[in-house]
Symmetry: C2
Subunit: 536 residues, 2 copies
Amino acid sequence: MPLKIALAQINFLVGNINANLDNIATAAIYARDQLHADMIVFPELAITGYPAEDLLFRPDFIEAANNAIYQLAERVADIAMVVGFPERDGDQLYNSAVVLQQGVILACYRKQALPNYGVFDEQRYFTAGTLPGVFEFNGHFIGLTICEDVWKSGIIDATKQAGAELLLTLNASPFNSGKSHQREAVVCQQASASQIPLLYVNQVGGQDELIFDGASFATDANGHIVFRAAEFKEQISVIEFTGNQPIPSICAPLYQEISSEYHALVLGIKDYVRKNGFHGALLGLSGGIDSALVLALAVDALGADKVEAVLMPSRYTLDMSNEDAVQEALALGVKYHCIPIEPAVNAFTGMLADVFAGTAKDTTEENIQARCRGVILMALSNKQGKLLLTTGNKSEMSVGYATLYGDMAGGFAPLKDVPKLLVYQLSRYRNTLSEVIPERVITRPPSAELAPDQIDADSLPPYDILDPILERYIEQDLSAEQIIAAGFAPKDVARAIQLVDRNEYKRRQSPPGIKISSRAFGRDRRYPITSGYRGI
Amino acid sequence: MPLKIALAQINFLVGNINANLDNIATAAIYARDQLHADMIVFPELAITGYPAEDLLFRPDFIEAANNAIYQLAERVADIAMVVGFPERDGDQLYNSAVVLQQGVILACYRKQALPNYGVFDEQRYFTAGTLPGVFEFNGHFIGLTICEDVWKSGIIDATKQAGAELLLTLNASPFNSGKSHQREAVVCQQASASQIPLLYVNQVGGQDELIFDGASFATDANGHIVFRAAEFKEQISVIEFTGNQPIPSICAPLYQEISSEYHALVLGIKDYVRKNGFHGALLGLSGGIDSALVLALAVDALGADKVEAVLMPSRYTLDMSNEDAVQEALALGVKYHCIPIEPAVNAFTGMLADVFAGTAKDTTEENIQARCRGVILMALSNKQGKLLLTTGNKSEMSVGYATLYGDMAGGFAPLKDVPKLLVYQLSRYRNTLSEVIPERVITRPPSAELAPDQIDADSLPPYDILDPILERYIEQDLSAEQIIAAGFAPKDVARAIQLVDRNEYKRRQSPPGIKISSRAFGRDRRYPITSGYRGI
């Protein structure tokens, strides 16, 4: 009988051990009865969801997770299950993969390489294992590894030395743009170097800032991909083996970069809304490109009936902005309201007239407008139980071109890690699927419309200059000197860097957003607010 | 000639290497010329400030820090300097202590124990050293350790085995209530167990969420404290030795717990305002106890002329609240404005009348009031360049009894880690220094005054029940079962835990506040927002 191993690319809910346990058992029974699999492999820490963060410090949580493994072992027979869980052993906690068969634990492997960089804090929680994991199953010697293990040299080799003929890898590998290619390149190279076939199982779904993109795969001993699951979708598939060699089967194609980014954003919104129990989403629709894109993403994620748009014009809002906003709502079939902000702005102006007497107008007055919009949107969100989506992009977050408690008010920021130039690209991409964003919205100069005839370029370098500077400073950690040496004007570099340095306090209070770059704001980039560092 | 070693308990600015370098050089020259010291010991990572967080990933920053060490070596002669810095060696970064003398590096020690729990992320940045550090200086064999090293067993012993007769410890050890006693107990026990005298140098100052309390000390080989620097203040002192034994000198007393908490909060406000370049601070003064305490703290931190209070009554504000608020401002000599919020609330009510038609009043209407206050306070903050202090306490932050973008709007939250019962204690403590908080404010039942005759106890268990439940759930990670077993009513436990679980999203967007407990919200407690975990 040839070996058949199922891969469970599943979407878990962090913290809900009972639901995850049900999910795992259901998948195992499906794999056994429908796919006739001998074994099913689940992602890293499937039982708790990943990352469970400081929930892992709760003794009750860890106890429940460990008990769940015993319950699972008893609940499902006649298929072996490889499941990630936080293994408690005395005072130590391990990021482990357990193999369950017929009610007993056949093997348990403890992750050796614990990532503690970027978004990862695994050394905060776990002790590293020190031994390779190999077990015998129906005459096959199968090795176990977990995520980071296969990115480090040495661990695959050691596992093979310990007798493994075939390797399983349990993963919770988060998405960023280009990651699926990078992941396959690294893992296939390692498999090939060690001449061992490998099954790579990744989870799928959105979890706060992170998207897990799935794209689980199998490679033969030469590092050739012989199977790939879809990206951004749940999928349970079975791989058949001749001896220890996986037989080629369906390889789902990888998306083009822009398409993968769009799908990541859609999944991020969908899961944040669904997993947090919101009744839908709403957003302020300004006629600008950012809110137009967020509206399209939200509708693609939730359906038009679950999304609501609010136009909040002021005296500075151009007619074309209102027209375009209405056209966007109509094109996507979304309910919209129009609530002009003038009465509230006037009220505040009057209330502050005495204390502001004799002072000049400045950004204070612009911020009041943005904050009036924030109050209206939050009132709608509170009343309806709908998630308020903010529409700011990464370029704005970087330089603080946004109003705290104004346009930054909201529960989730889909574009937080999307630079402005990519906002344009994603909008054009979305329009290739169906025309939902008016051409004029894409081509007009961007403006916050908080003062007469205002455009972003009054305050900031043009985005085709600003964005590459920001990427170099924020994602690549280059110095001003290096960025200038790369051909950017010193005054643009200085302006951009000063603004980034100065606006950490705003970012710290921004809602979570979806990581799609190599370094997102949030857990991925931890800067002090109080800081004397000056990049320029 | 007996050995004289100075301790530099100094306040650094994270990220400003040039300023820190100047600070270090000035202190060294002072110790040499005024105190006739042979050597001066600075805190952990003094050259960058602690914690520099992801600034440590910037190659330009690390290069500047390493260059600064060479500059310092050349700049100050005739005194040995022991300085903490991030040592680059190839691809690795170490948390190191370098000994500089007459322009050369006499020794360099790499921290072995890298804390990666609580607020610490040192394994994100540093590679652990593996060797004890001992150097000879004027015939003395001196050991080097850094902070966590002396909390772990084994490292002091190994350093003594390597020849050390006297131990220096460079620290950046953050405050929490009771920490100074705990720190001395642990370190003195270790010194005594290894029978080695020890000089413990801690930094002082506020850095975002953290307070470093100083309280540097020296212990003899029997673990008896023979010198202690003041808490919460800069101090450069010299310890004289007979052989390797420190000669007893002035021991500053340790504050009582309540007093240390008050001082920590004052220092936190002072340094956040000063280091971030604000012109002062302002806050909304409601007549409630939280804002009364924050006002007193702010005045004690900054002086009355740098603090401004704003009364923003609504139709639900009782006369006594306004009276008490005015009395507080007068007692502390603080300028205040009164800006009733009714016009803005009415404007929003009118603007939302259509969309809200047919819906019942709920917390939405309460939140609108709080958000109108947020807009006013932020407008004043923007216009004047003053830091807006929020006044919410830890109990409210825990259960989400606060309005996002409303009373949570602001740059800094002094009471974020102060539970309500401690707010009362701190207020009474402050009144023992001078009567600034009216007795009625302390004794009346707390109310948000967002609806008629509202008191907190309508929505929450009384604070003398709520606070101990919260401490057990949040700080001690106890389960609902365990808390109930400790004698709390199941319904109170359920209510408290449900609210804590549900309100992570609010905490994530709250301003930073000052850690004074064993576990504060912020970097210290990292919970997922999207979470299926239910503590009850």
